[in-house]
Amino acid sequence: MHPKLSILLFLPCLLLEAPVVYAAPFIPASDAEVLEQLPFKASDPTTRELRRMRQELSESPHNLDKAVALAQRYYRLAMADGDPRFIGYAQAALAPWWEMDEAPVAVLVQRAALRQYSHNFNSALTDLKLATRLEPRQGTAWSLLAAIHMVQAEYATARQDCEKLHGLASSLIVVACVATVDSLSGQARQAYSTLQKAYASAPAVPANEKLWILTRLAEMSDRLGLAEEADAYFRAALKLNIPDAYLLAVYAEFLLDEHRHSEVIKLLKDKERSDVLLMRLALAEKAINAPRAAEHQAIIRARFDAARMRGDKLHIQDEARFNLYLLNTPEAALRLAQENWLGQHEPSDARILLETALAAKDKTAAQPALYWFTESRIEDRHLEKLVKAVRGLK
């Protein structure tokens, strides 16, 4: 056989085999070989605190306060780095009340938070509606209701939820909640400047509130096409040094849009564990042909396969992105984006539906997103460009 030909024939095998994702079971060569890195050391204050809380709860598993406190602690950990194991641990803490329809209000609210994390929006809404009926001044429940209604593009309802927070949260939080809704429903510029002013004049804002508001401001300015301001807000949020998977994901997306691929790689290089962040990393690596692009793509594919095996449908938006940009299979990507749209209507959901419809040249498939775009009166530079391109399709 011609040597070149044999290389050509061998190449696909190399591409398939090179990133060893599923090796055969093995026995490590030495006792010193490190197999796994845990999220915390034994000496870490978080580990100690969790151990103490778990210990206390195991002594009295029906203690409502202790159970809810542990569940909240785990929920915060899940938010920080997006590991769903913490969601499971939080659910375990609430085990005595988990199946109860009329659980205590504190459990209802926490359970709703965990349920919306798994995209069980309807059961989360049921819990929250019951909680606010039993306890109308449950601020946390109203804030969660606002968040879920925003995801479902129920902007009028979300705004009402925000209004309920008056007197239950700081005035800055109330302003930010309303501004977030308004910025998605036709008053982007005004909402942006209102929130800017409120933030500038607010005294002594706690760090985690700062993180949240800076992230909102960054997203709003990005949608308005103010890239420099967005970048400044993102950086200010990162400077707070609070681990937050969501912030990293949206900043990485912003950098990808700005074609600042090497910055994405720098930002996310040790975040491979997170599916969402690994996806952004792989997209940046592919764009500039970085060395680990193929390896990361293979890992993502293996994780999607694993998710499918367990019957998960939570990754669907990213799976659409994976099919569109890494596998170049627009039709498959479009089907996933359509399925994703059935469950949630955030700007990023509309964006992937428009992008896949455009790539697959299927204007009809984009109709729901086009309708939502007009109906919500959202102002978003990325969506505006896409809508124009999709409308231009024959």
């Binding site: 915390f40 946390t140 927070l165 706690p206």
Partner: protein
């Protein structure tokens, strides 16, 4: 203050950030064979660390040495959380090896084990409860392998017990196995094909004043073919069933010789036509003999005593399917060529002579138990 703190955190909850990581799964492979089950169970080191602690020196990394030290503890923790029952009897499990594997989200302990049941498995009931008490989001992903077939299932807290019928699985598989054998047998069984072809060759013609004439339309040809094929099928199905169920048995040498003779006679009939219009009767009469031939092939395949009927029906359907394929390839071609001299001289006449010669050799071979031809 506390409420306010949580409030901000909840507002941050935008689902785009959700499920940034792969959730906790274990991978369980079970292979059943006879009365034993071979198992391989991949459990994430992170999960084992949370449940029973693996990080001996508390430095946040798990080494092979630390994992090795916990092998007994891992088996003692995991194995009781997988209960294997067969015919209402527990099959005790025992660890056989400990390895490591890397999955897409990190390192997993690989626990190999064996479960011994008292009787050969026809069904298996599994109860899975690993980690459900500490992480209700955990799932166990099962791959169950039995006689070359694979089934998958997912264990979750609300689906922790599942039953798998192995016999049922195997019956369906056996059925298809026998169907395939049936198709294969008609395909490689030249004597059956040649017998059928000999009868079918004149179907697109008719005799008029001692000469072959082409049929005027497709209908009479199709009708003739249908009659012959139906008669043959009916006849061999009857004797195949009778022989397989043990009602009638004939010595195989006699059967094989008679089959060869049937081919000779049906081909000769095309050269020196004796029976003209009623070839379907010939098909029926000799079809009875061919059925005994099929039965001996089926017997050679080994008959499952618990699924005799299933094997019989499967095999017979396979034979009919194969036969139908041959007929539907033959008929349009023959019909198309029926007016040509080529068909009458080369195909019908010369073809029948060759079939006669070949089948005569078979006849001699089978009657005198000789080997003259290479096939």
């Amino acid at each position: 203050m506390i409420t306010r703190l949580f409030l901000t955190l909840f507002l941050l909850t935008l689902p785009s950030a959700a499920h940034a990581h792969k959730p906790s799964d274990s991978y369980l492979i079970l292979k059943t064979e006879g009365a034993s089950v071979q198992g391989q169970w991949d459990i994430a080191l992170r999960d084992l660390d949370f449940a029973i602690g693996l990080d001996g020196n508390g430095d946040g990394s798990i080494t092979w040495g630390e994992l090795r030290a916990r092998h007994d503890a891992i088996a003692a923790y995991a194995l009781p959380r997988l209960k294997i029952h067969a015919q209402d009897e527990a099959c005790p499990t025992r660890a056989t090896a400990h390895l490591v594997d890397k999955h897409s989200d990190g390192a997993y302990a690989v626990l190999r084990f064996v479960a011994e049941c008292t009787k050969p498995l026809t069904a298996v009931e599994l109860n899975y409860s690993l980690l459900f008490d500490v992480d209700p989001q955990h799932k166990g992903l099962l791959r169950l392998e039995y006689q070359g077939t694979t089934r998958t299932a997912i264990f979750s807290p609300d689906k922790s017990s599942q039953r798998f019928e192995l016999a049922e699985l195997s019956l369906l598989r056996q059925f298809f196995d026998y169907t395939r054998e049936g198709v294969w047998h008609i395909w490689i069984g030249f004597d059956h094909i040649l017998f059928l072809l000999s009868l079918l060759l004149p179907a697109v013609l008719y005799r008029s004043k001692k000469h072959w004439e082409a049929v005027p339309g497709f209908r009479p040809a199709l009708l003739d073919v249908l009659k012959i094929v139906t008669a043959f099928t009916l006849a061999h199905s009857i004797t195949l069933s009778l022989a397989t169920l043990g009602v009638v048995t004939l010595p195989s040498r006699l059967v094989e010789s008679a089959i060869a003779a049937s081919v000779v006679l049906s081909a000769l009939n095309n050269i020196f036509p004796l029976i003209e219009g009623r070839r379907w009767m010939v098909a029926f009469a000799f079809g009875l003999i061919h059925g005994f031939g099929f039965a001996s092939v089926l017997a050679d395949l080994g008959l499952p005593q618990d699924a005799l009927l299933l094997a019989l029906v499967g095999f017979n359907l396979g034979v009919e399917g194969g036969q139908l394929a041959i007929v539907s390839a033959f008929l349009p071609l023959a019909y198309f060529l029926r007016n040509t001299l080529f068909y009458r001289r080369a195909v019908l006449f010369a073809g029948s002579i060759m079939i006669t010669l070949l089948a005569s050799v078979w006849l001699v071979e089978r009657v005198f138990d000789l080997k003259l031809l290479g096939f």
